[in-house]
């Protein structure tokens, strides 16, 4: 500015005036289009985000176990349809409120009769469809409602529902003694093909059974007929009993995940079982395919011997056929006899007795009275007896068998449970006999025998000593005398020149001559027997002499 002052305004005056242009200009207010566009695009973005967020619903549960905000998903048919945004307690702290953001496209899940439940984590081996399923934690299951009414507050189901709405197939009810390794969504197999799943289970009100709900998908549900048997195909079933070791598996998947299999006993029957039909769950395929057992009856047996080796589930054997199993065992005390008899209760299926059952049924004409069947058996000498089934494991079983010389037993065919008379088992019998022998042996007075034997030996010893001292010297003298006598005899009798020998030779010569003449006489008499009467004839005298010389 100092310079311009010095030039005295000239440089300013000399500056050119700008060339005037007339140019169409944007109206300055057009700049306001920018915030307008920004506002519109911002609104669009927010609106889009808001709309794609879908409705927010609240589901209440008893527990929030495994549910995490921003992590737990809501799934319908394994498709994620929303996410848990928050978990909090209800005002009275009695329930858990789970806030769920549904996806926009799944907004219709916020309808009045939609259902929500929690699926707890489970390593699913039955269906590995991706790594994520192995890690899939707890998630909320959802089932689409049919109502058009909107609703945002739901009460969650504590157990997953049987079947999703609209799935084709039928559900059946299975009754079992225990759940085993089965669980919700355990597979159901038909000829090793997965055709359904377990959709629920609950304990019966009386606590005696577990009722399972199965769902068999269409079109396989038509294979479930009235003659269909279901059995547990879960895991590895290892049994060690009186029959030996037994290992059963269905397939590798069921070893871990468990499962139920079914099959019809006869393929001829095609009458489909109605929806919700009740079946029994058998322990294994062999059990399932067995002919029906008919009515069952409890029997009680009273054994005086040890039950070691007998266990719950041990068989009741009738001529090799298992007709029942042991249900319970308990000891009693008999104050009179001071013994501990054992009461064994067992379940028996009389129909397995076969012939005799039918025979009695025919005779009586009506439903066979189980008591009558056993009455007849017991009259024929059948008794319950404990026997060793497996020598290696010493497992016992109860045999209903003819016991020779069985004592007559009381039997009331109308009592329940039936009291089956028992007989001591084979082992027990042998033990008794051995005990008897031992008792007899025990009575032998081994002590006295020993004492008297010792006395006898003492006496013998004394006797021997006396013999030794008194008898031996005399015997020696006697022997010497005998020796002398023999010597002299030898000298007098046997020497060649001995007088005895000499005299003997003469005597013998005389004897020879005497016998010679005697022979001559005998020969003469043979030829001339008349000589005895008439005397010796005169003719020919030389002949007998000649003959006598020979």
């Amino acid at each position: 500015m100092a310079e311009s002052n010095q030039t005295g305004g000239d440089p300013v005056a000399g500056l050119p005036e700008p060339e005037v242009v007339q140019r169409a200009r944007f109206s300055p207010s057009l700049i306001w289009l920018v915030p307008l566009v920004a506002a519109i695009s911002g609104m669009v973005m927010l609106a889009k985000a808001y709309r794609s967020a879908g409705p927010t619903i609240t589901v209440s549960f008893q527990t929030a176990e495994g549910i995490e905000a921003d992590k737990t998903e809501v799934r319908y048919k394994e498709v994620v349809i929303g996410k848990v945004r928050g978990v909090e307690l209800s005002e009275d702290h009695s329930r858990v409120l789970v806030h769920v953001n549904l996806d926009k496209r799944s907004a219709d899940f916020a309808s009045e009769d939609a259902r929500f439940w929690v699926v707890r984590p489970r390593v699913s081996v039955g269906g590995v469809s991706g790594l994520s399923t192995l890690f899939s934690g707890t998630y909320l299951g959802a089932d689409l409602g049919t109502s058009n009414k909107e609703k945002t507050e739901f009460v969650g189901l504590e157990t997953p529902p049987g079947v999703l709405r609209g799935s084709k197939g039928r559900s059946f009810t299975i009754r079992t003694d225990d759940l085993g390794s089965l669980d919700i969504s355990s597979p159901v197999y038909f000829r090793r093909l997965q055709v359904g799943r377990v959709t629920g289970y609950r304990l019966d009100p009386d606590g005696n059974h577990v009722t399972l709900q199965l769902f068999v998908d269409s079109p396989y549900d038509r294979f479930v007929t009235a003659s269909t048997r279901f059995w547990n195909a879960s895991g590895i079933d290892v049994q060690l009993n009186a029959s030996g070791l037994k290992v059963n598996t269905q397939s590798l998947a069921t070893v871990v995940a468990g499962g139920v299999a079914f099959q019809s006993v006869d393929n001829a029957s095609t009458a489909e079982a109605p929806e919700g039909a009740l079946f029994d769950l058998h322990a294994d395929v062999a059990d399932a395919m067995k002919p029906p057992d008919g009515p069952q009856v409890d029997i009680r047996m009273r054994f005086d011997e040890t039950l070691r080796g007998l266990s719950i589930g041990s068989p009741i054997d009738f001529r090799g056929v298992v007709i029942g199993t042991i249900k319970s065992m308990e000891l009693e005390y008999e104050p009179k006899t001071q013994t501990f008899p054992a009461n064994v209760t067992a379940t028996v299926y009389p129909q397995r007795l076969g012939g005799i059952y039918e025979h009695i049924m025919l005779r009586d004409g009506t439903e066979a009275d189980v008591g009558a069947v056993f009455q007849s058996l017991i009259d024929h000498g059948f008794r319950a007896q404990l026997r060793v089934g497996n020598l290696l494991t010493q497992q016992l079983y109860v045999a209903i068998a003819i016991v020779p010389r069985a004592k007559p037993a009381k039997f009331d065919p109308n009592s329940r449970p039936l009291e089956i008379p028992t007989a001591p088992g084979s082992l027990e019998e042998v033990q008794h006999q051995v005990a008897d022998i031992l008792a007899k042996l025990d009575k032998v007075p081994f002590d006295e025998i020993g004492t008297s034997l010792r006395d006898t030996l003492h006496n013998t010893n004394a006797l021997m000593r006396r013999l030794d001292s008194e008898l031996a010297p005399q015997a020696k003298q006697m022997l010497a005398a005998a020796q002398q006598a023999l010597d002299s005899a030898n000298r007098n009798l046997l020497a060649e020149d001995s007088p005895v020998q000499h005299g003997m030779a003469g005597t013998l010569e005389e004897l020879r001559r005497a016998s010679q003449s005697l022979r001559g006489l005998a020969e003469y008499l043979q030829r001339h027997p008349e000589a005895l009467l008439r005397g010796k004839s005169a003719d020919p005298p030389p002949a007998p002499a000649k003959q006598g010389d020979h």
Binding site: V12, P18, W32, G42, M45, A49, D70, G130
Partner: protein, 208 residues
Amino acid sequence: MKPDASAHQLGLISCTACGELSRARPDAALGRCRRCGAILHPRKPHSIQRTWALLIASLILFIPANTLPVMRTGSIFGTVDHTIIGGVIDLWKSGSWDLSIIVFVASIAVPILKMLALGLLAATAQMRSGWRRLQRARLYRLVEAVGHWSMLDIFVVALLVALVQFGNLAQTRPEPGIIAFGAVVVLTMLASAGFDPRLIWDYDEKNG
């Protein structure tokens, strides 16, 4: 003549392109530089109006930028949407408070302060206020300098989206929020560029 007179006060116009001084026409008609032919303005035309418009636009877009997710990461454990403030909180919670502060300053504090500063400058210029001119001039320079640092978030998202693509294992994808955020940064830069700092110093003699 006052020692701090401006060209405008002397009835002159400086060409913004070549620096040639011209006399302002008395009829205030639009002129063209005789030397380089650029359109001559004594001040940036409609500067305050333009600043306001861009500022308001950026303010509007600042709402979706912070409420909508900027990025979606998907892994085998599920997909997670990230918002800017959510990222700051997550970083803080996981113990990386240093990173958290950096992201907070660059992505939230700086844009907000920048918009406040621009609003202040535009408002005072509009009111022809003589209040703390020097500080306001410094503030304007600071706003200009700090502008592009706000692009940090956009760089992060751009890098992650380009790098983290492992099919089903991990995936990253930008979400609408980042567009809004980028627009906020660009609009504030435009707003500060549209503001004519010489307006701070005008009207001095009228007020004073």
